[in-house]
Symmetry: C2
DNA sequence: TAAATATATGAACAAATATTCATATATAAT
DNA sequence: ATTATATATGAATATTTGTTCATATATTTA
């Protein structure tokens, strides 16, 4: 393990200790990584973006994104499991909508970041 | 392609059109997905979290996270390429720090979301 | 009741990605 | 100059993950 190889004079024990104390705990890091993983896929982002505009059934989303029902359905399952969308069954159709407004905020800040980087 | 199989009566053409018009364009979706991909990995999140607290060299980060220099260095490269961190060389060491404060905001909103979900 | 439609899902496959290992480069110390 | 140290990086490996394909379930219609 070469993470033990640094000379003591190079390590900043004070800073390391401070960081160790103030850092978020492992569970939160784990949950956070899973949350952002949802937003890291273009298909899921497009689905969330669409639902931000309107409630839609699976057929609508498939048509809108030009992708198979299966693919969309798999991704909707991920979004459901992460509790980012809710499903409402009406007849043979299932209507999806967003579960809360953090989604909008998360996307907005991301867009803000990207726009500033372009300058 | 079974995304063409839905009956016309099931599709909501008005909603689909509205979504099509209002949705973000593909380039932004692509950039967004790449941005969130950075936050989707626990190692990178821990590095960002540490740098949020203090400027650190590679040795510090390796020691703090209990991971090899190589692994940390690879992830720092990703963070550099995404322009989320900046590097300052001093002697043999390279000191890393955050490049802007969107990082903090993105993490904060994620934490907020997770905490509310726990209720 | 049988056939058709909308959605869901398990398994297989392909593509992406994180870590390890080996090695390279740059700087400092001897 | 030579050796040691801090960091970087290419290639290989292992794991994860998105889509496709086949099939299952639920609801409606004939």
């Amino acid at each position: 393990m070469d993470y033990l190889d640094c000379e003591d004079e190079v390590l900043h024990q004070d800073k390391i200790e401070e960081a160790r104390k103030k850092m978020m705990n492992g569970d939160i890091i784990f949950d956070l990584s899973n949350l952002y993983k949802v937003f890291s896929d273009e298909t899921r982002l497009r689905i969330l973006n669409a639902l931000l505009i309107s409630e839609l059934c699976v057929c609508d989303i498939s048509d809108l994104l030009g992708m198979t029902h299966s693919s969309i359905s798999h991704q909707l399952k991920v979004l459901r499991e992460m509790k980012l969308v809710k499903a409402k069954k009406v007849g043979k159709s299932v209507y999806y909508s967003l579960k809360d407004d953090h989604i909008q905020k998360i996307i907005e800040i991301g867009v803000e970041h990207i726009n500033e980087k372009e300058i």
